[in-house]
């Protein structure tokens, strides 16, 4: 036996998925998370899954410890070292406000105190030329300031973030400061902006570096504790953590790039989404992971997920490292329904969480939540929630929803339906945001539904958006852990330097790409990858005068004038697709040159399901549907369904960690891989969007 094990520590639950590739065996486990010491749940899951330590071939963790520390403000004390005169950049931020008309809003704190922002006399210009040299005296002054602060709260973790102006143009001063700090304060972790996020815009880069430093000590502690426990259990294989760019890295490297862990748990969902989309023959997939508190939405287009360097941990607090383009919204099973001052029904973002939880948990919650609404509608079996581990109290659900119903003048069931509809509208919005605002048509995508609640809401969502096919993977409640298993090793590099399309230098681009590739592959090797890496090159570019770039993939082969012309053609096409026009012959600016070196890990195949023709329902229940009111709905156990099984809605497919809803008239098929595929969705009318204009052309 030889298992690859993926473990994801979520906010409420810690999930484990283990696959024996050769024997095609799948093992799963789920435990409540232990937020005070996240790794404890990891080991409880490991202990409880029944796999002996010597059978573990590879272990990868997705963890939200960095994101939690950021949200709960429990990271290290950060000393922010920057060019003298610019110490206030983290506080000035970008001048804009979260809402237009909100006198209650308070600008967010940048994870450090103003008195901990230390200026160093040095200066570099936009070309990387030194304007004010960095002297030993300046370093000494810095040393004194740091030493004084370190003496103030002994025992409190401290880390240093260094962000000098134009560090992306030349790293030399930051490197010198790093050497000085390493020599003078060897125990203090240091983050350098030219490593963390070598892009322009000093606030974004600085804040990213601060967050990196903020999380460094606790990530280091986490890694050491897990190492220690694994050693105790005689698990000897190197283990990895999942990165926010969808790749993974050996744990030993995690402490050097903590900012890469911010989306660690969340990225797994979209990776799993891509995998299952692939297996279902679709390169265009929207992955939706709906849990108790939040829903994560991601897009895979033409087989690739998108990246962003504009992720915000909180409004106004950006992270400028390349992350998988995920949108998280406050919509989950525990989201609370409420009426605003205008009488509109709203759902979330406040959540009842796991404690007290929805009213039907009977732990003291009295607000109606989405789960309560689903219980009223009959979609959730109160005795089989979480496999029966958590019996629900339907009378509490009815009472809670009744309070809303009374205020909006609807029957309890109609009110429950409205609550679910509003929650779905929030999720549909998120889906529109990640597709339509990127020029993609969601009706051309399949929906892969994960999480405890994703498969339950998928049928409604697909109808609302116009999606024609839903895919529910096996063990959908464990999507992130499965995704962790699938993540390849991945290293990104970026070089920022503006060029005009009238003045390109193909030889120089080729040279820089090769240098970055060599450096990235070196990192891959250090992380244990022996094979042939997959190399992706792209250029971020824009029309001269615009301020936003788009990533355009570079064709393989040596870079030449011809291949650069092809890049420009691709840019025109993409601009047309997103914005409805392109400007023929316009000068372009080439800004960022990016490479990703990917070390693909062996593919995982799921054990095939035994065949079956006619599934048998376990029971029949009364479920409320909008079109028909309450009607009989057969309820199946997923474990009873085999490959080839086919049924028509209405139907509920229950399993330990989730439930899938099929609307009347929809069709469900079970594939050999164990996926549930729903078709026959009434997606409503719609025509293809009209072709865009070419504004630079004569008519």
């Amino acid at each position: 036996m030889s298992y690859r094990v993926g473990i994801d520590t979520g906010g409420t639950f810690t999930d484990l998925v283990a696959v024996d590739v050769a024997a095609r065996r799948l093992v799963v486990a789920k435990r409540p998370s232990t937020p005070a010491a996240p790794q404890r749940a990891v080991f409880e899951a490991l202990d409880g899954c029944g796999i002996p330590p010597e059978d573990i071939e590879f272990l990868i963790l997705g963890t939200t410890i960095a994101l939690n520390a950021v949200h709960t403000r429990t990271g290290a004390r950060v000393l922010y070292v920057t060019t003298a005169g610019f110490e206030d950049v983290p506080f000035i931020q970008r001048l804009n406000r979260k809402h237009h008309y909100d006198l209650q809003w308070i600008k967010p704190d940048p994870f450090c105190e103003r008195r901990d922002c230390l200026g160093v006399a040095e200066r570099v210009d936009k070309n990387g030329r030194v304007v004010v040299p960095l002297t030993d005296e300046a370093l000494e002054r810095l040393g004194t300031a740091v030493a004084q602060r370190l003496s103030e709260e002994p025992g409190r973790p401290v880390a240093i973030a260094v962000n000098l102006l134009f560090s992306y143009a030349t790293p030399v001063h930051e490197q010198r400061i790093a050497e000085f700090l390493a020599e003078r304060f060897p125990a203090v972790p240091v983050s350098l902006s030219h490593n963390v996020a070598p892009i322009w815009r000093e606030y974004e880069r600085g804040l990213t570096t601060i967050i990196d430093a903020y999380a460094k000590p606790l990530v280091g502690r986490f890694v050491r504790e897990v190492d220690h426990e694994l050693a105790r259990r005689r698990v000897t294989v190197p283990w990895a953590v999942m990165k926010s760019n969808g790749g993974n890295m050996l744990a030993a490297a995690a402490e050097s790039q903590p900012v890469q862990l911010l989306l660690s748990g969340l990225a797994g969902g979209i990776i799993a989404g891509k995998y299952f989309g692939d297996r279902a023959g679709s390169g265009n997939v929207i992955s939706l992971d709906m849990g108790g508190t939040s829903t994560d939405v991601g897009v895979v287009a033409d087989g690739e997920y998108g990246y962003t360097t504009e992720y915000q941990v909180e409004w106004g607090l950006p992270v400028a490292a390349p992350f998988i383009d995920l949108t998280t919204i406050g919509a989950g099973g525990g989201s609370i329904a409420w009426i605003d001052n205008g009488g509109f029904l709203k759902v979330g973002p406040q959540s009842a969480g796991a404690d007290p939880g929805p009213a039907c948990y009977d732990r003291g919650g009295t607000e109606a939540t989405v789960t309560d609404a689903n219980v009223v509608l009959g979609r959730v079996d109160p005795r089989f929630f979480l496999g029966g581990d958590l019996p629900l109290h339907p009378d509490r659900a009815w009472a809670a929803v009744d309070k809303i119903a009374a205020r909006v003048g609807l029957s309890v069931e109609a009110a429950a339906h409205s609550i679910v509809a509003v929650a779905n509208e929030n999720m549909a919005d998120a889906i529109r945001l990640v597709t339509v605002e990127r020029g993609l048509d969601p009706r051309e995508f399949d929906l892969v539904a994960f999480g405890g609640a994703g498969p339950l809401h998928a049928a409604d969502l697909a109808e609302a958006i116009g999606i024609r096919r839903i895919i529910v993977p096996p063990h959908p409640g464990l999507g992130s852990a499965f995704g962790a298993l699938l993540a390849d090793l991945r290293v990104d590099r970026i070089w920022t330097h503006g060029y005009r399309s009238t003045d390109l230098d193909p030889a120089r681009f080729e040279e820089r790409f090769n240098e970055m590739t060599a450096s990235a592959v070196q990192d891959l090797r250090a992380e244990g990858f022996d094979g042939t890496p997959l190399l992706l090159r792209s250029i971020s570019m824009r029309y001269l005068g615009q301020n936003y770039e788009q990533d355009i993939p570079v064709p393989p082969g040596t870079i030449s004038s011809a291949s650069l012309r092809e890049v420009m053609r691709r840019f025109d096409r993409q601009h047309e697709q997103f914005y409805g026009y392109h400007i023929a012959g316009e000068t372009m600016e080439f800004i960022h040159f990016k490479i990703s070196a990917i070390g693909p890990l062996p593919k995982v195949d799921l054990p095939p399901l035994p065949s079956q023709e006619t599934p048998t329902a376990r029971t029949v229940r009364q479920v409320y549907f909008k079109t028909s009111g309450r009607q009989d709905c057969p309820v199946y156990r997923r474990a009873d369904l085999g490959a080839g099984a086919r049924l028509r809605g209405p139907a509920l497919i229950e399993e330990e960690n989730s439930v899938t809803l099929v609307h009347p008239g929809q069709d469900l098929d079970v594939t050999r891989d164990g996926m549930l595929v729903i078709t026959g969705i009434d997606a409503g009318a719609g025509g293809r969007a009209a072709a865009g204009n070419v504004m630079g052309e004569q008519r």
Binding site: F91, Y101, Q104, K107, W200, N341, V408, G580, M695
Partner: protein, 602 residues
């Protein structure tokens, strides 16, 4: 088509409202990502709206508050002036006329009729600030203008696209009269491109729900917003609340211009009566009707429920009185370019000041009140290309009933982001010496105001740059409320190469005003200082908790001297840390409450 449910069902209304706002948001995202002027793509100085065929606004996305009132009128009046019959499919109409509802000359409105299955359904429109529009000074801020002709090229209501084709003569005329025609070309494309996106999305919405359903839903949404706004107003105590403030000078003369408002709350209606304001100024600080409308709604939105959908309905209970020929409704051919960035925030603060008596827990003390407009242009030594830039700063906002004011924020008529130093220096031949918060710039209070910023930039050789500026709050400080004190003023100063001190542009270049001037030439080695004001304080500063004062001193937001003189908190340094001297503080505060001498609080 989906099976039609009741268009007045609240869930459905919520969904439709969402769809409509998302369409406007998409328009804006497209504009932001494709426009050429940084005022568009970083500053987000634009607005996107959808109207029905009756000229009522059915949805608006949140981009720039400056135009939120004006766009109501520019679109409605444009439709009425041309008449519905004169619109054809593929037409795009444009104007930047300040007397037709515009905010000021740089703001251009583009408007497109949306036809569906041959019938006119409604309109999509946006307003955007085009950075260069000709006129007497580069960068569209003619600080010393005395008439609209000097401000730039004024387009009355004209078609820029006709049946999907460029109206070539108009494009040629406009591009010949702007100094950076390439930027105008790109910005116009971005604006018009976003209208096409709106049309596509609206078609899809109509495909799904049908025209009748959407129209009924929009009517209900407007009525709903109106009812909600009336409910909010009803909750405010009836009365007449007056307040006044001043624009210090107008660029042409050194005379101040007084803006006066009486907010009349009667039942579920508000009248914003600006009629006692001064006659219009000779120079640029006049507000157009569009600016007065935008400022009035902006202030009212700040003190009412922010979930009220912003469509025509929520504006119905608010009546604005702004006699033409006064500084709140400039008449042709009076200038108005500073009205949008400088008078608008003054007017917002005025209304908040007026309503302080009615709803004290919802208002804030005066914010910085100036965008610190700094315009510059020249030929870039590296590329030999002509460039123009519109630069602004963010000041402190006023303290409020429950918290300090935020530091370094854009004025309330905008929601722009600054240009990062690295982007600024990559594009323009300057070196930034520093960019920081200004200690003690905040108005003292139980809750103090926010801090302003100071930036110093040095011209790099061999550049020669022509600069203009429009500043306010250099003489009259942002005021406090309920015993809170005033904040620091703004500043724009120059230190010529070889000089040792910073002086005003009036001293060095002999301009009429140190705050509003055009076309001063600066060259290599000259340094320019731009300082934004802080926000006023709220409440008596001697009531501020000593912990909060100590924290301010420790973090460097205020000095120990200010702590003592303004807040009555005496501190001392022990082992390099600040500590409160409790007894001395008690004595100091006792002394202060008996003399009660604070600078110009209201």
């Amino acid at each position: 088509m989906t099976s039609a449910t009741d268009p007045t069902d609240l869930t459905t209304l919520s969904v439709i409202h969402n769809h409509l706002v998302n369409i406007c948001r998409e328009m804006g995202t497209a504009m932001m990502r494709t426009a050429y002027s940084p005022i568009f793509n970083e500053g987000l100085d634009f607005s996107c709206v959808l109207f029905n065929r009756d000229g009522e606004m059915i949805a608006q996305a949140e981009f720039c508050p400056a135009q939120l009132g004006a766009i109501l009128y520019t679109v409605k009046w444009s439709i009425a002036e041309l008449g519905l019959d004169s619109f054809e499919e593929g037409d795009v109409v444009i104007h930047n006329d300040p007397y037709r509802g515009g905010c000021h000359m740089p703001e251009h409105m583009v408007l497109k009729p949306i036809f569906y299955e041959g019938e006119l359904f409604g309109f999509a429109a946006n307003i955007g600030h085009v950075a260069e529009i000709g006129g007497m000074a580069p960068g569209s801020f003619a600080a010393t203008a005395t008439d609209v002709f000097q401000e730039g090229l004024r387009l009355p209501l004209v078609k820029i696209m006709r049946r999907g084709e460029y109206v070539h003569d108009l494009w040629k005329l406009v591009l010949a009269n702007h100094r950076t025609p390439r930027n105008t070309w790109g910005d116009f494309h971005a604006m018009i491109g976003s209208l096409h996106i709106a049309e596509r999305r609206v078609h899809r919405l109509l495909d799904k729900y049908g025209v009748a359903f959407i129209n009924a839903a929009c009517r209900e949404l407007m009525n709903h917003a109106e009812r909600w706004m009336r409910e909010e107003i009803r909750r405010m105590p009836d009365g007449e609340y007056a307040f006044e403030d001043v624009m210090e000078d107008d660029g042409a003369t050194e005379n101040p211009t007084h803006f006066r408002v009486t907010m009349v709350i009667r039942g579920d209606e508000i009248i914003a009566d600006w009629s006692r304001s001064d006659p219009q100024a000779r120079g640029i600080v006049n507000a157009t009707f569009g600016v007065t409308a935008s400022a009035t709604y902006n202030a009212i939105f700040h003190v009412t429920d922010k979930n009220i959908p912003h469509n025509s309905g929520c504006y119905r209970p608010i009546k604005i009185i702004a006699p033409p020929g006064t500084c709140v409704n400039v008449r042709y051919p009076g200038p108005s370019v500073a009205g949008n960035t400088e008078s608008h925030p003054r007017m917002v603060d005025l209304i908040l000041g007026a309503l302080a008596e009615a709803v004290p827990e919802r208002v804030a003390a005066a914010e910085g009140g100036t965008s610190c407009n700094f315009l510059f242009g020249g030929v870039h030594p590296d590329t030999n290309q002509y460039y123009v830039n519109y630069h602004f700063e963010g000041g402190g906002w006023g303290g409020r009933a429950f918290a300090d004011g935020n530091s370094a924020l854009i004025v309330p008529n905008g929601n722009c982001r600054n240009t990062p130093v690295e982007v600024f220096e990559t594009r323009y031949p300057f070196l930034t010496q520093w960019y920081r918060l200004v200690q003690d710039s905040c108005g003292p209070g139980t809750h103090r105001g926010g801090l302003g910023t100071q930036r110093v930039i040095e011209v790099l050789p061999p550049a020669e740059i022509t600069v203009s500026a429009v500043f306010e709050r250099m003489k009259v400080s942002p005021w406090g409320l309920f015993g809170g004190g005033c904040a620091n003023n703004s500043a724009i100063l120059i230190k010529k190469r070889g000089d040792t001190t910073f002086r005003t542009f009036k001293e060095v270049y002999h301009t009429t005003s140190p705050a509003k001037f055009v076309n001063c030439v600066v060259s290599a080695g000259d340094q320019i200082l731009l300082e934004a004001p802080g926000g006023g304080g709220y409440g008596d500063p001697t009531q501020r908790s000593t912990e909060a004062v100590l924290r301010d001193i420790t973090q460097g937001f205020i000095s120990a001297d200010a702590g003592r003189e303004l807040y009555g908190v005496v501190t001392r340094r022990v082992d390099g840390r600040h500590e409160v001297d409790v007894d001395a503080t008690a004595a100091q505060r006792a002394k202060m409450s008996s003399t009660a001498a604070l600078p110009a609080a209201r």
